[in-house]
Symmetry: C2
Subunit: 254 residues, 2 copies
């Protein structure tokens, strides 16, 4: 099933995509998701980020086979940094060299606490596409990575969740202004999805709608204001976002 979150005249809904229209879902995280009966035309709907997570966690040391010699490590991104397909990635004027990282993301369907490691993959609702936007300069200056990973709009996710996909070798392609910047397979990651989920679920509680970003197997793609960035994964579709300049008037001097 292709699970979407959409904005429409009646508000915001979860829905499955039925080929020509959306069929509203009462709760995609229920043990047996139920359709409400409402149908929504794609012309009257806009795709949102497919979840509103409370946890967004990414894997460090997971960009290629060589990383399997390093201990696993994870980092948190601010949950509110998530935006949907088509939403602008805002490059703050106080950011340094900022890059896109195309990644496969696990969407958690139910609570992982007290689930045995062998059963953890049953807590995954499905897969989606994520762009782990990162300020490389800030990452160099902040050993905790907080200043690099969590800026507003730095986690585009979507366009939807595929629940049936079960393959270890998904091709991830990142494009900037339509030009291929990176192409690599999730088979190139240092750790597989089961190892990643076991590591993360030991360190923190996960629950419905949470996202586990599995690492970027390909090279990063530098971003500039005015660019259009896309991340495409086999069988999952393409997540596209414009890149805009943003005046970070929030800022106290760091």
């Amino acid at each position: 099933m292709r699970v979407c979150r959409i904005a429409h005249a009646g508000g915001t809904s979860y829905a499955s995509w039925e080929g020509e229209e959306f069929a509203e879902l009462a709760d995609p995280f229920a043990p047996r998701p139920r359709h409400t009966g409402a149908r929504i035309s794609p012309a009257a709907a806009r795709l949102l980020a497919p979840v509103e997570p409370r946890t967004v966690v990414g894997m460090a040391h997971n960009t290629g086979a060589a990383d399997s010699a390093l201990p696993p490590a994870a980092f948190l991104k601010a949950a509110r940094s998530v935006v949907g397909p088509g939403a602008a990635v805002r490059l703050p004027d106080d950011a340094g060299r900022t890059v896109a990282e195309g990644e496969l993301a696990l969407v958690i369907g139910r609570e992982t606490t007290d689930v045995r490691p062998a059963d953890l993959l049953s807590c995954v609702l499905g897969l989606t596409v994520a762009n782990d936007v990162t300020d490389r300069s800030a990452q160099h200056d902040d050993p905790l990575w907080t200043a690099a990973k969590s800026r507003h709009t730095f986690t585009p996710v979507g366009p939807w969740i595929e629940t049936g996909l079960d393959r270890a070798d998904l091709q991830i392609t990142v494009t900037v202004n339509g030009v291929e910047a990176s192409r690599a397979s999730t088979a190139g990651l240092a750790r597989d999805l089961g190892e990643i989920l076991a590591y993360v679920a030991r360190l923190m509680p996960l629950g419905p709608g949470d996202l586990v970003l599995t690492g970027a197997p390909g090279p990063e793609a530098p971003l500039r204001a005015g660019d259009a960035v896309g991340v495409r994964i086999d069988g999952l579709g393409e997540l596209g976002n414009p890149v805009e300049a943003w005046h970070a008037r929030q800022g106290a001097a760091a």
Copy 2:
């Protein structure tokens, strides 16, 4: 106003404490919070963590005046690590030396993105008490701190939110089994609440119910299974939690 989140026979509600009973609130984050008219007796209610945040962020380099020479730094804790007053802090059997840190926490009332730095304190709904439980051994091994800060139950918060408190010198007392382990004032922090909020809000979007932990001005208090840990702040009440051993069967070998 003292804003609580309570479990009762009718479900889970926000409520204000009116001296002898709770008065249910429709939405404490509304511009003008409105009472529903329902009253609930304390005998029929149990206090929960006063918020269900999407963001929990703490300040590094903020434990005393000497830290003001260091650049500010922030870390994220997993949002689902939050538990309420009376809930057990579970010490996993694979954790190292684990400590309590008593901290004043800002409860965010509305979105901070696009708010000018000078106006950020108006986004704060009120103050509460937090215990930033930390596995010091894991913090040493994981430079990103993720393994140290986000274990299930590692962020007790409560007992409630005080909306009217406006003082820079609040006394924080940490007790273990009733014995004082630490006593210090928020006046001893390297950075004041306005500086902390300006720093954090520049790095990430914050919104209703999010928590900003402001740093522990006093010494840490080691925790063992069987302990009872308390964090008391002048004018905010006491957050008390039992400490239990927990078999972390989640774990893949790290």
